[in-house]
C-alpha cells in the first residue's frame, strides 16, 4: 500500500478512538447539540466538493461538485447556527448575571479572532500573489498547515461539548477551524474557476442560514436528519463524479474507497430523508413491515456488496457501478421504514455515523486527511451516541433497528405519535448545578423508594439540603406505595419528622413555587393524563401537580411503566429530567457529589 494510504488508515483508527473518548465525556444534556455539531462538522465534505467544483475536471464533475458544495455549505452554516442556538439555552443564572461583566471580555476575544483571521487572509493573499514564483510560503504547504490547525480546532470543539460551560466556546473554535479549512481550500492549486464555487457557497449559506435561524427547536431532529441527507448526497455525488473522471484507471484501493463512499453515502441519503419525513409527520410514524422484509433487505445488501467487490476487480463496469448506487439508495429507504417514529433519534444518530464514514471514505478518495479525521470522529460519535440512546431507552440496539420485524409494534398511547419521544436525561454530577439556584425542594416518594429501601438516603439528602438553607417538603400521595401509609412507615424509620410530610390537598398549591421536585420512585401519582385523558386507567385519580414546578427530576430504574401500566406524560415535559438508576444508588452518588 502507498504511504498515503498507510497514514490515512492510521489516522482513521486514531481518530476513531479519539472520537469514542470525546463523546463518552458528553453529558446526555448535550446530546442534541452534539448531533447538530457533528452534523455541521460533516460539512467538511465541502473541502473536497470545492476542489471538484472548481477544478474543471469535466461537465459532470463540475455540476456534481456544485451540488455537493451547496449541500455541504448548507450543513456547515445551518449546523453551526442551530448548535449555537441550542447551546445559548444552557446559560445558568450566574452566567446571566455575569453577562454584563463578561461583555468587555467577549468583545476582546472577538477582536482577537478577527485580527487572526485578517492576518491569515493576508498570508493567503501573499501566497497567491507569489503562486508561480518560488515564494517563502508555498500554497500547498500553507494549506496543509491550515488543515492541521483545523483538525486541532475540531477536536477542541468536540471536547468543549463535555460541559455546558465550555460548549459554546468550543463550538466557536470548531467554527473557526471550519472557516480556516474552507478558506484555505479556496486557494487549492487544482481550483481554476470560482463561479460554481461562489454560487454553491452562496446558495448553501442562504438555505443553511434560513434553516438554522428560523427552524423551531422542536424541529431540530428533522433538520438534522435532512442535513445528514444532504451531506451524504454530497459524498455520493463526489464519489460518482470521481468514478466518471478516472474511468478505468482506478486501482483497487481507490475503487474500494469510491465504492464505499457511494454505497454508504447513498443509503444514508435516502435513509435520512425517510427519517426526516417520519419525524415531520409527512410519512407514517408507525413501522411499516411486510413479510420477508428481513430476508429481502439482506438479499439487497448482498447484491450491493457483491457489486462493490466486482467493481474492485473490474472498475470499468460502469453499469454495475450505477446499479450499485441505485440499490444503495433503495436500501437506505428500506432500512428506515420499519423503524417507528419514536425510535428515530437513535436512527438519526446512526445515520450521522454513516454520513461520517462516507465523509471519511471521501477523504480516502481525494487523499484529504482532514476529511479522514473529521469523518472518523463523526463516525464514532454517531455510533456511540446511538448505543447510549438505546441504553437510555433500556432497549438493545438490535431491538431498536430490527425489532419491528416479525411483530407489529403497538402504537404509543397518549400524545400524538410522530413526534419525538426522547426524554431528557440528567446525570448525578449535573444535579448540584441545578440545586445552586434552588430555594425550595419538594420530594415525592413512591414505591420505587420502598423497593430500593432508599428512605435513609432520601432523609440524608433532605437533611443536607436543609442545612444549606433550602426548604424541603415531602409530598405524600394517598396511594403512593403498595399499602396505605407505606411511605409513612419508611420515612418514620428514617426519622423524617411528621411536620415535613404533606398530604395531597395541602401540598399541591406549593408545587408552583417549588424550584425543584425530586420524584423518588413515584410514577402514576404524578401522571397528568389522569386529569384529561379519558382513556387512561388513571383518569379521575387526583394527582400531585408536580408539572407546575420549575424543574423536575425523576429517579427511576428505567422507562418501564408503573403499576397502572401506562406511559407517564410528565416525562416528556421539557422541564422534566430523568435520572436513571436504582433510587438508593443514585441518591448515594448524589450525596457524594454534593458533599
Amino acid at each position: 500500500m502507498t504511504a498515503d494510504l498507510e497514514i490515512g488508515l492510521y489516522i482513521f483508527m486514531l481518530a476513531a478512538f479519539l472520537g469514542y473518548h470525546l463523546i463518552s465525556g458528553v453529558p446526555p444534556l448535550l446530546h442534541t447539540p452534539l448531533m447538530s455539531a457533528t452534523n455541521a462538522m460533516s460539512g467538511i465534505s465541502l473541502i473536497g466538493s470545492l476542489v471538484v467544483a472548481g477544478a474543471d475536471y469535466g461537465a459532470w464533475s463540475t455540476i456534481f461538485g456544485f451540488i455537493a458544495v451547496t449541500c455541504s455549505a448548507t450543513n456547515v452554516v445551518g449546523g453551526f447556527l442551530i448548535t449555537d442556538r441550542m447551546l445559548k439555552m444552557f446559560k445558568s443564572e450566574r452566567d446571566r448575571s455575569n453577562e454584563v461583566r463578561r461583555s468587555p471580555l467577549r468583545r476582546r476575544s472577538l477582536l482577537f479572532c478577527i485580527v487572526i483571521a485578517v492576518l491569515l487572509l493576508l498570508l493567503l493573499y501573499g501566497v497567491v500573489k507569489r503562486r508561480n514564483s518560488a515564494g517563502i510560503i508555498d500554497a500547498a504547504q500553507a494549506l496543509k498547515f491550515f488543515y492541521i490547525v483545523s483538525a486541532g480546532l475540531f477536536i477542541l470543539g468536540l471536547k468543549g461539548l463535555s460541559s455546558p460551560k465550555f460548549a459554546r466556546k468550543g463550538m466557536f473554535l470548531a467554527e473557526f477551524g471550519m472557516g480556516m479549512a474552507v478558506a484555505g481550500t479556496l486557494f487549492h492549486h487544482d481550483i481554476v474557476t470560482y463561479e460554481w464555487i461562489i454560487a454553491g457557497l452562496a446558495i448553501g449559506a442562504i438555505i443553511g442560514g434560513a434553516m438554522g435561524l428560523w427552524i423551531p427547536m422542536t424541529a431540530v431532529p428533522q433538520r438534522t436528519a435532512l442535513s445528514h441527507s444532504l451531506g451524504a448526497l454530497a459524498a455520493t455525488l463526489i464519489g460518482i463524479s470521481e468514478y466518471l473522471r478516472h474511468g478505468s484507471g482506478l486501482d483497487k484501493v481507490l475503487m474500494t474507497a469510491i465504492g464505499l463512499e457511494v454505497v454508504i453515502g447513498g443509503l444514508t441519503t435516502t435513509g435520512s430523508l425517510m427519517a426526516a419525513g417520519k419525524l415531520q409527520g409527512l410519512l407514517p410514524g408507525v413501522p411499516i413491515t411486510y413479510k420477508g422484509q428481513n430476508s429481502s433487505n439482506i438479499g439487497l445488501l448482498t447484491v450491493v456488496l457483491g457489486s462493490l467487490i466486482y467493481l474492485i476487480f473490474v472498475p470499468s463496469a460502469g453499469a454495475i457501478f450505477f446499479l450499485m448506487a441505485g440499490l444503495a439508495l433503495l436500501f437506505g429507504f428500506l432500512l428506515v421504514i420499519p423503524i417507528g417514529a419514536a425510535d428515530m433519534p437513535v436512527v438519526i444518530s446512526l445515520l450521522n455515523s454513516y454520513a461520517g464514514l462516507a465523509d471519511a471514505a471521501m477523504g480516502f478518495v481525494l487523499m484529504n486527511k482532514i476529511q479522514i479525521i473529521t469523518g472518523s470522529l463523526d463516525g464514532t460519535s454517531g455510533f456511540l451516541l446511538s448505543l447510549l440512546m438505546c441504553r437510555a431507552m433500556n432497549r438493545s440496539a438490535w431491538n431498536v433497528l430490527f425489532g419491528a420485524f416479525g411483530k407489529v409494534e403497538q402504537a404509543p398511547s397518549g400524545p400524538a405519535a410522530g413526534y419525538e419521544r426522547a426524554v431528557l436525561r440528567i446525570m448525578t454530577d449535573e444535579v448540584p448545578a441545578l440545586l445552586e439556584s434552588c430555594r425550595s425542594v419538594i420530594i415525592v416518594p413512591g414505591y420505587g423508594m420502598a423497593v430500593a429501601q432508599a428512605q435513609h438516603a432520601v432523609a440524608d439528602l433532605a437533611n443536607l439540603l436543609s442545612k444549606r438553607g433550602l426548604d424541603v417538603k415531602y409530598a405524600i400521595h394517598p396511594v403512593a406505595g403498595r399499602m396505605p401509609g407505606h411511605m409513612n412507615v419508611l420515612l418514620a424509620e428514617a426519622n423524617v419528622p411528621y411536620d415535613r410530610l404533606f398530604e395531597l390537598e395541602r401540598i399541591n398549591p406549593y408545587f408552583a413555587e417549588a424550584d425543584l421536585v425530586l420524584i423518588v420512585g413515584a410514577n402514576d401519582v404524578t401522571n397528568p393524563a389522569a386529569k384529561h385523558d379519558k382513556t387512561s386507567p388513571l383518569y379521575g385519580m387526583p394527582i400531585l401537580e408536580v408539572e407546575h414546578a420549575r424543574a423536575i427530576i425523576v429517579l427511576k430504574r428505567s422507562m418501564r411503566p408503573g403499576f397502572a401500566g401506562v406511559e407517564n406524560e410528565l416525562y416528556y415535559n421539557p422541564r422534566c429530567m430523568m435520572l436513571f438508576g436504582d433510587a438508593k444508588g443514585s441518591l448515594t452518588k448524589l450525596l457524594a457529589v454534593l458533599k
Binding site: 399499602m483 396505605p484 402514576d524 385519580m541
Partner: protein, 379 residues
C-alpha cells in the same frame, strides 16, 4: 334526598358508617343527613358532634331514608323497615348472605356491597377492604406484642442483650403488609410469605425478608390481585415447607384469604406444637374459617403453650379511625353514585356495575351469581 345512618346492632360492632366531619361533605352536596341517636357513641363520636356539623338526630332512620349507610349487613327486621326503592350501601357480606340478599331483593332495595369494589386506580378512595385490612394488620401486631412475653426490638443493655422478636407474616396483602410495617416499627425481625410471587417485592419494600418456598406459584394470582385457591396437595406441600419458619417464630400472623371462599389452612396442629411455648399466633382469617386448624373465632385459645387469637372484627377495636376511614370510602362512593344529590344510576359505570347487588327486585350482580352458583353446586 335523605341519608340515614343507623346505630349498628351487630354484637360487638362499635363502628359507625358516618363520622361528623363528613356530614358537612354530604350536606354540601345537597343531601340531608339523619343520624340515629347514639349511633357514633361507641366509636367516640357523640350526638352533639353530628348535630354541630349539620346532621339531624332521629330515633329511627330506616323508615324515612332514601339512602342508608351501614357498616354491617342489615338484619331481617331492619330490611323490613326500609323503603321500597331506597338505596343501601354497606359491607353486605354478599358471598355468605344469600337469604338476606333475597330479602333485600324482595323489598326492592337497591343495594351496594362495598366489598365488591373493583381494585382499580380511581376506585382507591372507595376501597373499604384495604382500609379495614390496614386497621386489622396494625392491630394484630399490637395484640401479639401485648400478649408476647418478650420484647419486640433488639436491646443491648447492662442487664444483657435482648434479642428481637421474630415475626412471620403469612399472606402479604394489605393486612399482611401493614402488619409487617408495624412489626418493623416496633423493631422485630420480620419474615413474610405469600403464594403470589408479585408480592415478594412489596413485602421487601416494607422491610420484611421474603421466605422463598419452592412451590409452583405461577398462577397464584387472579385478576384484581387476589390470591387464588389452590389444590389440597399444594397446601400440604406448603405446610411442610413453612414448618421450620413457623416453628422458629415468636409471632405468627396469618392473613391469607381467598376471595369469597373458606380460608386455606396453612398452620396445622403439628406446626403449632412445634412452636415455642409463649409464642403467639394471630389469625386474621378467622372470620372466614381461619388459617390455623386450632383457631376459634373471637376467642383466645392456648394450645401447647401457644396463644392462638382469632379476632373477627379488629376494626371494631379501633372504631374511631376505622369508622373515619370507612365513612370516607362510603361517602366517596356515595358522592360518585349521586353527584348531584339525585338518585340516578349509571349502570355502565364500572364501579356501579361491580358493587350493585340488588336492584328493582332482582339480584343483578353477575359475578356474585356465578360465585354463589358454584358454591351451591359444590355444597
Amino acid at each position: 334526598m335523605m341519608v340515614g345512618v343507623p346505630a349498628e346492632c351487630f354484637p360487638g360492632e362499635r363502628r359507625v358508617a358516618l363520622v361528623p366531619e363528613l356530614v358537612s361533605k354530604l350536606t354540601a352536596a345537597g343531601l340531608e343527613v339523619h343520624v340515629q341517636l347514639g349511633a357514633g357513641v361507641k366509636a367516640g363520636f357523640g350526638d352533639k358532634d353530628y348535630e354541630e356539623k349539620g346532621a339531624r338526630l332521629a330515633s329511627d332512620v330506616f323508615a324515612k331514608a332514601d339512602v342508608l349507610l351501614k357498616v354491617r349487613p342489615p338484619i331481617a327486621d331492619e330490611i323490613q323497615k326500609l323503603r321500597e326503592a331506597s338505596v343501601l350501601i354497606g359491607l353486605l357480606d354478599p358471598y355468605t348472605s344469600a337469604a338476606q340478599i333475597r330479602l333485600l331483593g324482595a323489598r326492592k332495595v337497591t343495594s351496594f356491597a362495598m366489598e365488591l369494589m373493583p381494585r382499580i386506580a380511581r376506585a382507591q378512595p372507595m376501597d373499604t377492604l384495604s382500609a379495614m385490612s390496614t386497621v386489622a394488620g396494625y392491630k394484630a401486631v399490637l395484640l401479639a406484642a401485648n400478649r408476647l412475653p418478650k420484647f419486640f426490638p433488639l436491646l443491648m443493655t447492662a442487664a444483657g442483650t435482648i434479642t428481637p422478636a421474630r415475626v412471620f407474616v403469612v399472606g402479604a396483602g394489605v393486612a399482611g403488609l401493614e402488619a409487617i410495617g408495624t412489626a418493623k416499627r416496633l423493631g422485630a425481625v420480620v419474615e413474610a410469605y405469600d403464594t403470589r410471587p408479585a408480592v415478594k417485592e412489596e413485602a421487601q419494600s416494607v422491610g420484611a425478608k421474603f421466605v422463598e418456598l419452592t412451590l409452583d406459584t405461577k398462577d397464584a394470582e387472579e385478576k384484581g390481585g387476589y390470591a387464588k385457591a389452590e389444590s389440597p396437595e399444594f397446601y400440604q406441600k406448603q405446610q411442610e415447607m413453612m414448618f421450620e419458619h413457623v416453628a422458629a417464630a415468636d409471632v405468627v400472623i396469618t392473613a391469607a384469604l381467598v376471595r369469597g371462599r373458606h380460608a386455606p389452612i396453612l398452620i396445622t396442629e403439628e406446626m403449632v406444637r412445634a412452636m415455642r411455648p409463649g409464642s403467639v399466633l394471630v389469625d386474621l382469617a378467622s372470620a372466614q374459617g381461619g388459617n390455623c386448624a386450632l383457631t376459634e373465632a373471637d376467642k383466645e385459645v392456648v394450645r401447647y403453650g401457644v396463644v392462638i387469637m382469632g379476632p373477627t372484627n379488629l376494626p371494631s377495636t379501633m372504631p374511631f379511625h376505622s369508622s373515619q376511614m370507612y365513612a370516607r370510602t362510603v361517602t366517596n362512593f356515595l358522592l360518585h353514585l349521586f353527584p348531584n344529590g339525585k338518585i340516578r344510576l349509571d349502570l355502565n359505570d364500572e364501579l356501579t356495575h361491580a358493587t350493585l347487588v340488588t336492584h328493582q327486585g332482582e339480584m343483578v350482580n353477575d359475578a356474585l351469581k356465578a360465585a354463589l352458583a358454584v358454591e351451591a353446586g359444590v355444597s
